[in-house]
């Protein structure tokens, strides 16, 4: 993609900007449709109808909300630390958007084919903690600060099980490149990592239960990392107003929301790359069987988005099912359950791979 635009424009900066537009568009669309789906699914789960006044089936509700947000006055409280206050939403959004640089949407649409993609993703997504702490501190508000502290504690704790599971995947695949990891699970769905990877043999069948455990652990911990219910204590509406973005309004608030939905899709994408074959189709390509080569990247993009949306839907489903965890329950879940299980999982996978 980048090479194509580089040949077209002959300018490195311009071609980089053009390539960066696609993930940005993706984040915007995920936020637009995600908010709509969240409302609609929550309404259906609670036996309501949900938004249905703006456009057919209320489809334009989020667009109307976005227009409203654009028009809002940028009101700020008096005693805020205005420099940090203004940087924080940008930093949070940058942290969640930078993740997309290494995510392969299809074999042709990759921001950057870095060899240390996974490492980069885990590192750069920690930038969000800094932004959240900044927002909480600069708001000069007790609720904001409490939310920010909780968020920092939560994200740092839950990064450990995530990293351990990522490590076990890296042990199996032998690479940190997200593109290579997806390419290893090509062709059919029995080559997915959750079903033991592409190599056929005894190890594949021995790995399956441990990969399922690993998937459950990484799904729970990434859920906590993006502050989704049941792990939404940083923004717990009923106790902290809105957590670290209590004092924000208008477009700055919209940036926090945008980064939340961007994060949701990013972690869904990472989970689908690690365990569900990334952009590869589970049932073979139409382009291959018809002999149309240019169709394949589009199919890959379709499968990638489909997998990402599936996980987003599961996240929404979980959100409207489970109540919020208390802080002590949150910490005991991470340190007493997820981390020991992840460690045992890692060791067992190591032993299996030695066989």
């Amino acid at each position: 993609m980048y090479e194509y635009f580089y040949e077209l424009t002959g300018n490195t900066i311009l071609s980089t900007l053009i390539v960066a537009i696609f993930p940005l568009l993706n984040v915007l669309i995920v936020a637009l449709i995600g908010v709509y789906l969240e409302r609609k699914v929550s309404a259906r789960i609670q036996d309501r109808i949900g938004p249905n006044r703006t456009g057919p089936f209320g489809l334009f509700q989020t667009i109307a909300d976005f227009v409203k947000m654009l028009q809002k006055e940028d009101a700020t409280a008096k005693d805020i630390d205005s420099k940090l206050y203004n940087i924080a939403p940008v930093l949070v959004f940058t942290g969640s958007f930078a993740v997309y640089a290494a995510i392969p949407f299809s074999s042709k649409l990759i921001g950057s084919e870095v060899e240390v993609g996974l490492f980069y993703v885990i590192a750069i997504s920690s930038l969000v903690v800094g932004g959240i702490l900044m927002a909480g501190w600069a708001s000069n508000n007790k609720y904001s600060l409490l939310g920010a502290m909780r968020s920092a504690a939560q994200i740092i704790s839950y990064e450990i099980p995530t990293a351990i599971i990522v490590l076990s995947i890296v042990m199996i695949t032998g690479t940190l490149s997200l593109d290579k990891i997806s390419n290893m699970q090509t062709a059919y769905f029995w080559n997915w990592n959750i079903l033991g990877g592409a190599e056929f043999g005894l190890t594949k069948f021995l790995l399956i239960p441990f990969m399922i455990v690993g998937f459950i652990i990484i799904f729970i911990s990434t859920l906590a990392e993006v502050n989704r219910t049941p792990f939404d204590i940083p923004e717990a509406e009923s106790e902290l107003v809105a957590g670290y973005f209590t004092e924000y309004c208008g477009m700055k608030w919209a940036m926090f929301m945008l980064s939340e939905y961007g994060n949701m899709f990013a972690v869904s994408a990472i989970v689908s790359i690690l365990f569900f074959g990334g952009y590869h189709s589970p049932i073979g390509y139409l382009g291959n069987s018809l002999g149309i080569e240019w169709l394949i990247p589009f199919e890959q993009a379709f499968w990638f988005l489909a997998k990402g949306w599936t996980f987003i839907l599961i996240q929404i489903w979980l959100r409207w099912t489970l109540p919020r965890l208390r802080v002590d329950q949150l910490m005991s879940l991470c340190w007493k359950y997820l981390i020991p299980y992840a460690f045992v999982n890692l060791i067992v996978i190591g032993i299996i791979l030695l066989l």
Binding site: V41, R44, D47, R48, I49, W317, L318, W320
Partner: protein, 184 residues
């Protein structure tokens, strides 16, 4: 150790149970009533906006006297002989022109106390409850069927009639006196 694994199992199992329940609810029809388009049928004895059927009203003023907040204003004019006001639906003869029958719904407390004393059952509660207005004066509902000119006419008629009667009376009294004089 056993409790540890039990906790793990319970955690996963109960989450799955919850997810199954919410998944079922995803496909149950919504209970929402789309209010302005669809309205629930109100209960039989609901108390909302009053209505007065002026064809049946005999202008007895009982509802106005029963009202605890004095929101009903009635003015009547007696009819003169020869005028036919018709009868109410339960056969009572009307004897009064109702020139004014105003109910101020800004004051009304929807107690229904005015409904019970009505001898002809012409004032009753309807199921209309959406009648908010921007101006408070718009909430004064005028039920009288007579136009102002008609009401004026009736009043003048009645005054003429009483004046005539008075004149007749005085004439009769004077005649009586004269008769008595001549007799004595």
């Amino acid at each position: 150790m056993r409790e540890y694994f039990r906790n793990t199992w319970l955690g996963i199992y109960t989450v799955l149970v919850g997810m199954k329940i919410t998944f079922k609810h995803l496909f149950t029809p919504a209970v929402t009533i789309q209010y302005p388009e669809v309205k629930l049928k109100l209960p039989e004895r609901e108390r909302n906006r009053l209505y007065v059927n002026m064809d049946d009203c005999i202008g007895c003023d009982q509802c106005s006297r029963a009202c605890p907040v004095n929101c009903i204003e009635i003015e009547t004019v007696k009819s003169i002989p020869g005028e036919d006001l018709g009868v109410t639906s339960n056969g009572k003869k009307k004897a009064l022109w109702v020139t004014k029958f105003n109910i101020d719904f800004a004051k009304c407390c929807y107690c229904q106390l005015c409904v019970f004393p009505c001898p002809t059952e012409c004032i009753y509660m309807t199921d209309v409850f959406e009648f908010s207005e921007y101006n408070r004066n718009d909430l004064i509902y005028k039920f009288a069927t007579l136009t102002e000119e008609e009401a004026k006419e009736k009043r003048i008629n009645f005054e003429k009639f009483t004046a005539e009667k008075e004149a007749q009376k005085t004439a009769a009294a004077a005649k009586l006196k004269e008769d008595q004089k001549t007799a004595s």
